[in-house]
């Protein structure tokens, strides 16, 4: 049986992990490779690196990070942030990433999903959706949540699958950062409407939240950042909790 995946996410700015960490056993908490290694040892099923480098000139640093991570971490990892063309995808995949995550560019230019899927395979193309509730539906936001679009999140997820996306990384802007739990309704609605895996993101604060993401939200995976960075729980704590409650996880 396929295991429910636990995915730590790291924000990277000019080659350094930001939103600091409190790992006592890590010498340099800003080093993406060292932090990735820590999560790998803890039993993370995958990793996501989100590049938030604003300066265009410094973006090449990311490629070097990807290359280093690929040499030391033997689980799949995804890189997202600022990918605008298939050439950006190629550079990241060639450096050793297994998947690329695309958000704003996919909304602006949906054919990019198909082009990426044709060139590199659907399994490489993760479409990240930032969704925010608007009465009875969810709007899609781009540019790091700053710009509202006309797209409906559920419709967009369905379209992304049709265009060739391999997975949906679904972040609820309403729950993100709250530590009050994933947006179960949003996650469940989208997960039941599409045939590709959904990664729930935004709001993880307790062990129970991960259980809910899978059981109630029907997600295939859960992504979190803060809960791991601040060492509230290690990946293995979450997995132990889930396994004790009958969820299939890789222990």
């Amino acid at each position: 049986m396929l295991a429910f995946r636990i995915i730590p996410c790291m924000d990277v700015d000019a080659g350094r992990v930001v939103k600091g960490t409190r790992f006592v056993n890590i010498k340099d908490a800003g080093d993406p490779v060292e932090l990735a290694r820590e999560y790998y040892v803890q039993g993370a099923d995958e990793l996501v690196f989100l590049d938030i480098t604003a300066s265009h000139e410094k973006r090449n640093i990311l490629i070097e990070v990807v290359r280093k991570v690929a040499k030391q971490i033997f689980i799949p990892f995804t890189v997202g942030g600022g990918i605008r063309a298939t050439e950006d995808m190629r550079a990241i995949l060639k450096a050793g990433a297994d998947k690329v995550s695309i958000n704003t560019a996919a909304v602006k230019k949906p054919e990019l999903i198909t082009e990426g899927a044709m060139k590199f395979g659907s399994q490489c193309i993760v479409i990240a959706i930032d969704a925010k509730r608007n009465k009875n539906s969810w709007d899609v936001y781009i540019n790091g949540g700053r710009t509202k679009t006309e797209k409906d999140a559920v419709e967009w997820a369905i379209e992304a699958e049709r265009l060739g996306a391999g997975e949906i990384l679904l972040t609820s802007m309403d729950t993100d950062g709250t530590k009050d739990g994933f947006d179960i309704e949003l996650t469940k609605t989208i997960s039941e409407k599409i045939g590709i895996p959904v990664i729930a993101s935004g709001g993880a604060g307790t062990l129970e939240h991960f259980l809910d993401a899978g059981k109630k939200g029907k997600a295939d995976a859960a992504l979190a950042a803060g809960i791991f960075h601040y060492q509230k729980y290690a990946v293995r704590d979450i997995k132990k909790y889930l396994a004790e409650r009958g969820v299939c996880v890789r222990e």
Partner: protein, 198 residues
């Protein structure tokens, strides 16, 4: 020295990284001569069945792969490197596979999410050093198709995804897995390490 066959589409860098990490010497090559000279051959694959066969043909790699297997030189196929060992695939009707083993490659029924992406466990169907002790361990899969061998004696591991399918085969020195040992954490590295030593 392990020759990693590079036919243009495979995720060869990941495999090379894993072998480097294990301090196992390897080269990435599309040169049939180098493949024939290597002690062992590793054949990683991604992409489609048809495209892979086309690239192998264009790069004149088929005789070298067949020779490797006929001479019982240690061989490890990964993902599509497992599937093309068979005769044909539902993915690319009319395209002949390497036909080293009898049987075909079938698509998962749309009962569950296809492709299968993620970690699934293996059950050992026979004893073999490469997978010993790894019963029920999880490995990373990304695929929509699975092999159905005619000769059941080659089945090494099986996995459950809406039904039991063959996730690994072996015959003498020939090994091939549907999952990606190079992306399956320490258990995956263990398989690569054992292959390198076999």
């Amino acid at each position: 020295m392990i020759a990693i066959i590079d036919y243009g589409a495979g995720n060869v860098a990941s495999v090379k990284n894993a072998l480097d990490f294990l301090k196992v010497k390897s080269i990435i090559t599309d040169d049939p001569k180098k493949i024939l000279l290597a002690d062992k051959v590793l054949f990683p694959g991604v992409g489609s069945f048809g495209d892979t066969m086309k690239s192998l043909r264009e790069k004149r790699l088929i005789p070298a792969i067949k020779k490797t297997i006929e001479t019982n030189k240690p061989f490890l196929g990964i993902c599509l490197g497992l599937q093309v060992l068979f005769e044909e695939s539902e993915e690319s009707p009319g395209i002949e596979g390497l036909g080293i083993f009898k049987g075909k490659v079938k698509r998962f029924k749309k009962k569950l999410k296809v492709p299968q992406i993620g970690w699934n466990s293996i059950v050992l169907e026979k004893q073999d050093g490469t997978v010993q002790g790894l019963n029920n361990k999880f490995f990373y899969f990304v695929h929509s198709y699975y092999v159905v061998p005619q000769d059941k004696s080659i089945i090494l591991t099986t996995t459950d995804y809406g039904g039991i399918f063959v996730s690994g085969i072996s015959k003498e020195n020939i090994y091939a897995f549907q999952f990606h040992p190079e992306k399956s954490g320490d258990d995956g590295l263990e398989i690569l390490k054992r292959f390198a030593r076999c």
